[in-house]
């Protein structure tokens, strides 16, 4: 029984087969920028950038090494004086809109913004028509 528990515990803590690298994280993966305003701008941007390795997480939320390297890029670029939207543009020119969580109105996405408005207008028209019929 003890042996079984031991084996079970050993399995529980076994390293995953698809090992990741053992290198230390990039300098600015976890280190905040000294300037609080710059760090706040970097943090806000990082929360709207998608981790490419661990999709559905932002790079601010992910501990994947690649997300750390992306945070490093974001922080050093912000520290060098780049505007957050320029950093986002740099990434989208490489990975497409996919890398950004910020909703953008584009040739592909405009129905997402237009349809709710149209539905509200439609519902309003129906409601108006019925109320008028009832009062008449």
């Amino acid at each position: 029984m003890m042996r079984f528990i031991f084996v079970a515990l050993a399995l529980l803590f076994a390293p995953p087969l698809a090992a990741q690298d053992t290198m230390p994280p990039a300098p600015f993966a976890y280190r905040q920028l000294d300037d609080p305003a710059q760090e706040a701008a970097a943090q806000e941007l990082m929360e709207t950038l998608r981790c490419l390795k661990c999709q559905s997480q932002s790079i601010a939320d992910s501990d994947a090494p690649m997300a750390g390297d992306m945070r490093h890029q974001v922080r050093i670029r912000i520290a060098a004086g780049e505007a957050p939207e320029d950093v986002r543009a740099w990434l989208t020119s490489r990975y497409g809109d996919y890398v950004s969580y910020k909703p953008e109105v584009s040739a592909v996405t405009w129905p997402l913004f237009a349809i709710p408005g149209l539905l509200i207008i439609l519902a309003g028209a129906v409601l108006f028509g019925r109320l008028r019929k009832r009062s008449a």
């Binding site: 690298d21 290198m23 490419l52 390795k53 390297d69 890029q73 990434l91 020119s93 990975y95 996919y98």
Partner: protein, 174 residues
């Protein structure tokens, strides 16, 4: 009762059908690089281990199309593609490797165990080149033409039937 009463139900059923269909479709996790067709961004990286040469953007501007292989010794699919890289090397293709977040001793061990198909191997400890060329994982292989422009991206390990495709893309980049 007019047929219009059923309209919302039909709409709902249609939506349900669409959702069910989408659920059965395999998910495409590949993030394609938008840098295909663009010039290789500037980089100049040191060698990944002893006895190999580092790599720079200028190495891709000598008129010969090359493969740029993003890999790492800690990446399991990279072991699977090693025989295919060997075949490409035997076909006369220069392959420049970029080792992502890797230790020199691990790189040396990988090369000793799985062979060295590379003409150069650079070390990229911060995934800088990987991010600059729009690669989102290891392994990925890019065809770079003789002027240093990215022509083609292969995502994932190179399988046996991908070798001909890559040779074709290299020929087209000539």
């Amino acid at each position: 009762m007019s047929w219009k009463v059923w309209l919302p139900l039909f709409l709902f059923a249609g939506f349900l059908g669409l959702a069910a269909y989408q659920l059965t479709q395999p998910k495409d996790d590949f993030v394609e690089s938008r840098m295909v067709g663009e010039a290789l961004p500037y980089f100049d990286l040191p060698p990944a281990t002893g006895g190999v040469e580092g790599a720079a953007t200028t190495d891709f501007q000598d008129g010969t199309p090359k493969l740029l292989n993003i890999w790492a010794s800690w990446c399991l699919p990279c072991i699977a593609e090693a025989p295919q890289l060997e075949r490409l090397k035997e076909a006369g293709v220069p392959i420049v490797g970029i080792a992502i977040r890797d230790r020199p001793e691990d790189v040396a061990q990988f090369l000793a165990r799985h062979g060295n198909p590379y003409s150069r191997i650079a070390r990229d400890d911060l995934s800088e080149v990987q991010l600059a060329i729009g690669s989102s994982g290891v392994p990925e292989t890019f065809v770079i033409d003789g002027r240093g422009y990215i022509r083609y991206q292969h995502i994932g390990d190179i399988r046996e039937d991908d070798v001909a495709t890559l040779l074709g893309e290299l020929e087209a980049a000539r």
